[in-house]
């Protein structure tokens, strides 16, 4: 009966005696849905009702005909028995040309909600994409009548128009885009292109409707409308300032339209404190508080890039942190060192081959020196950086009067002058990016933890890691590049992980054929957490269709609670996977029923805080005497009341004297959470 099995399935079955089904499937490039089930296509005639299910199969779709084709996931152990059924003519491992073979959508169970009655496909919701551009002519971003699904496109790089509505660039309306798409006489030209193809690909994952190939490659929220910002920058770059403007603009336009919005950003940088203090992160956190706004960011691809090092100093101790410079002649090597302001750590730099380091620069100091190789070393130390009580020291190494930065091992000497805190320090190397990615400086003794790219360390947003559904590595495993948490303040990141490796999505027609090869003429494959994030963004859009009032924190809870902790993610939650693997169907199911508690009447009386909730909850107060740290989620203490009730009172009496900045938390019996920090101003208690 195995003659009905295609050769790859036969090899797979043979190999199962020496390896797992998942590994055997990976080697012969057969899709798997869990540890034992493989994706197959059946050619069948006269199949009895329920017969596939009797073999343990999960049916995706059956295309009826004289000879029907069924797309199913079936346990590998059932393949031979299934092949023995007389109504089965052939069993074929699924291939890329079949509709369900874009693995990531079934993997995250998005197709299950697409086919619900009524369907959940993002209708009425906006998806906002902040990226390097979009191919607005791509059919996947058009409606059935050929009009655009893009309601507004802000091209931040376009020449400004007189009396424009934006501070730079220009906005094209749906009417402008429709004019081009319909070749309307007199319609304004829209010269926007996406030469890099990144933005087009990202948007297709979140919201492509698959029209270019009759639904073969459908995104997570295919009926959402789109707000696009083509970010100011140069090619693959965006700018943090322009991103802030983009977020504000998208949220404002969504509010004008009266519709909820899920926003995706798949860009990042390494320089910063990784504690959510960057202005971009603060802006995102502010907007993430709003009802009907969900913000998603890629975790970054830095896990193996050797961009983070950390250590601990005792009083008077000196440690050396070494990094290898690629010897750029284009951009600076930039290293940032962060530590608690209770510790005073001086820093010096020793260039390759130099017998001794430069002079030590104390906290708050600056220096600019020339090396013997005529490079320039500029150290800038900032005390109380971003008013979070930490010290930030940036080391800029530029080519100076030489033709390039001296390649080789550069040594940072860190000396613990006064250690009143824990003596811990962290260092990050800024990304070099194109055109000198191969010249990226790297630590010789790195830590792969705390490699989430900024602004992914923002406290309130959702940060997405990547796992494998196709491509190098074991299917179902975390992608080797996927950045890991936590934040420097110990918050778990990413929040969850989604498919991000060799994802087939929309391809910009303006892309270079060699750099971005075509698949099915209108699609292309890309890998990165850039591809994972829009899966989550699309999922957020579906949640907003079910409950348009959700804010980012609530959507985050739903997605994290729904996340699957199966296979390689069995150890979740952790700082690799976050809560686990994205499960859209389960998150949508939860969104239909969950009631988040509301906190009202928060009152401070003496040293006590009291409040009311709409449903019985347990309670907690988290506090810190340092307000900015509390804002970023770093508390110095907490109180709890584990009695389920609608009225709570917690008293900070007995704490050391001081001003305490407090946030109030309520947890339902099912552990759904609401946090009230007076809109970031905090409830202030004086002891």
């Amino acid at each position: 009966m195995d003659s009905k099995l295609d050769p790859r399935l036969r090899v797979l079955l043979d190999r199962r005696s020496t390896m797992t089904t998942r590994e055997a499937a990976r080697r012969v490039r057969v899709g798997v849905t869990d540890e034992d089930s493989v994706e197959v296509l059946l050619r069948t005639r006269g199949m009895p009702k329920g017969a596939l299910e009797a073999h343990g199969a999960s049916v995706h779709v059956v295309v009826e005909g004289a000879e029907s084709i069924a797309s199913v996931a079936v346990p590998a152990s059932s393949l031979s028995a299934l092949a023995g059924e007389e109504w089965v003519h052939e069993i074929e491992a699924s291939r890329e040309l079949f509709p369900e073979l874009d693995l990531s959508i079934p993997e995250c169970h998005a197709n299950a909600v697409h086919s619900l009655a009524p369907s959940v496909r993002g209708r009425g919701v906006l998806v906002g994409i902040i990226d390097a551009g979009i191919d607005f002519k791509h059919k996947d971003f058009c409606n059935g009548d050929g009009t655009s699904r893009i309601l507004l496109l802000w091209d931040q790089n376009a020449a400004a128009v007189a009396n424009g509505s934006v501070p730079f660039g220009r906005v094209y309306t749906k009417a402008d885009l429709d004019g081009v798409l319909k070749n309307k006489f007199g319609a304004p030209s829209v010269p926007h292109r996406d030469a890099g193809a990144h933005g087009t690909h990202v948007c297709g994952i979140a919201a492509g409707n698959g029209r270019a190939k009759n639904g073969k490659f459908v995104g997570v929220a295919p009926e959402a409308d789109l707000l696009i910002v083509s970010a100011k920058g140069d090619g693959t770059l965006g700018q943090s300032n322009a991103a802030i403007a983009a977020y504000s603009w998208i949220v404002a336009r969504a509010a004008e339209l009266g519709r909820p919005v899920a926003i995706n950003q798949s860009q990042g940088m390494n320089g910063g404190g990784h504690s959510g203090e960057a202005a971009l992160e603060q802006a995102m956190d502010n907007l993430a508080r709003l009802s009907g706004v969900v913000i998603v960011k890629s975790a970054g691809n830095e896990q193996q890039m050797r961009i983070h090092a950390s250590g601990q100093l005792a009083q008077g101790q000196t440690k050396v942190v070494t990094f290898e410079s690629g010897g750029s002649n284009v951009t600076d090597d930039i290293v940032e060192v962060w530590h608690d302001g209770a510790d005073r750590i001086s820093i010096a730099v020793q260039p390759p081959g130099a017998p001794a380091p430069t002079n030590f620069i104390a906290v708050g100091g600056t220096s600019k020196t020339k090396t013997s190789a005529k490079n320039e070393v500029n150290i800038v130390s900032t005390d109380d950086a971003s008013n979070i009580g930490d010290v930030r020291t940036a080391i800029f190494i530029s080519k100076g009067d030489a033709d390039r930065i001296q390649p080789g091992k550069w040594r940072l000497h860190l000396r613990g002058d006064t250690i009143h805190g824990d003596g811990a320090f962290h260092a990050w190397i800024e990304r070099s990016g194109e055109p000198r990615a191969d010249e990226q400086a790297k630590f010789t003794e790195p830590s792969n933890d705390a490699t989430i790219s900024i602004p992914g360390t923002a406290r309130r947003i959702i940060t997405a890691g990547s796992f494998i559904t196709r491509g190098d590595g074991s299917v179902g495993q975390i992608s080797i590049f996927s950045s890991r948490g936590p934040t420097r303040y110990g918050l778990m990141k990413p929040e969850l992980s989604a498919p991000g490796q060799m994802i087939t999505s929309t391809r910009s027609s303006a892309a270079n054929e060699t750099a971005v090869p075509k698949i099915q003429s209108s699609y292309a494959s890309m890998a990165g957490t850039s591809m994972a994030a829009p899966h989550v963004t699309g999922a957020a859009a579906l949640l907003l269709q079910v409950n348009p009032k959700l804010n980012t924190t609530q959507a985050k809870q739903l997605l994290m609670r729904a996340a699957r902790k199966t296979g390689f993610a069995a150890g979740a939650p952790d700082n690799t996977w976050g809560a686990g693997k994205l499960d859209v169907a389960e998150a949508v199911r939860l969104a239909r029923t969950v009631v988040f508690p509301t906190i009202t009447n928060v009152t401070v009386t003496g040293t006590a805080i009291s409040w009311t909730t709409n449903v019985p909850t347990t309670a907690a107060v988290r506090f810190n005497t340092h307000q900015r740290r509390m804002l970023l989620g770093r508390s110095s203490g907490s109180l709890a009341d584990l009695t389920l009730a609608t009225q709570h009172r917690l008293d900070l009496a007995g704490r050391p004297p001081g001003t305490y900045f407090c946030e109030v938390l309520a947890f339902t019996a099912d552990n759904w959470e609401t946090l009230d920090d007076a809109g970031g101003r905090h409830h202030v208690v004086t002891v």
Binding site: D131, A132, P167, F168, H198, H201, G233, T236, L237, G238, Q239, S240, N241, A242, A243, I244, A245, Y247, S248, W249, V251, Q265, S266, Q267, M269, G271, A278, A279, L280, Q282, A283, N286, L287, S298, N301, E336, G364, T366, N378, V380, S381, T382, A385, S386, N387, R392, T393, A394, F396, G433, E434, S453, M526, A527, G528, T529, S530, M531, A533, G680
Partner: protein
């Protein structure tokens, strides 16, 4: 050589003080209603999200005027974000 407002600058904007004078895109963390004062000091405001305001100053002189405002708590220079594919 710089006044006390220099501590409000992040390392990138602080470094820019020593480089060729040019227009700078900056993000500010402000306290209270600051927009009018920022504009008057020379910030071409691009956006605001809560206490975060972005915009452009024409040169170092304008940066100094903006940084010296009591309502300005911090200034961060705009920096490149790179795609994560």
């Amino acid at each position: 050589m710089h006044s006390e407002w220099v501590h409000k600058l992040d390392p990138y904007s602080r470094r820019a003080l020593d480089e060729e004078d040019r227009a700078l895109d900056v993000a500010l963390r402000v306290e209270g209603d600051a927009l009018d004062a920022l504009k008057a000091a020379g910030l071409d405001v691009h956006s605001s999200a809560g206490p975060i305001v972005t915009g452009r100053v024409a040169n170092r002189e304008a940066l100094a005027r903006v940084a010296a405002l009591p309502c300005v708590a911090e200034i961060q220079l705009s920096r490149p974000l790179r795609e994560e594919k």
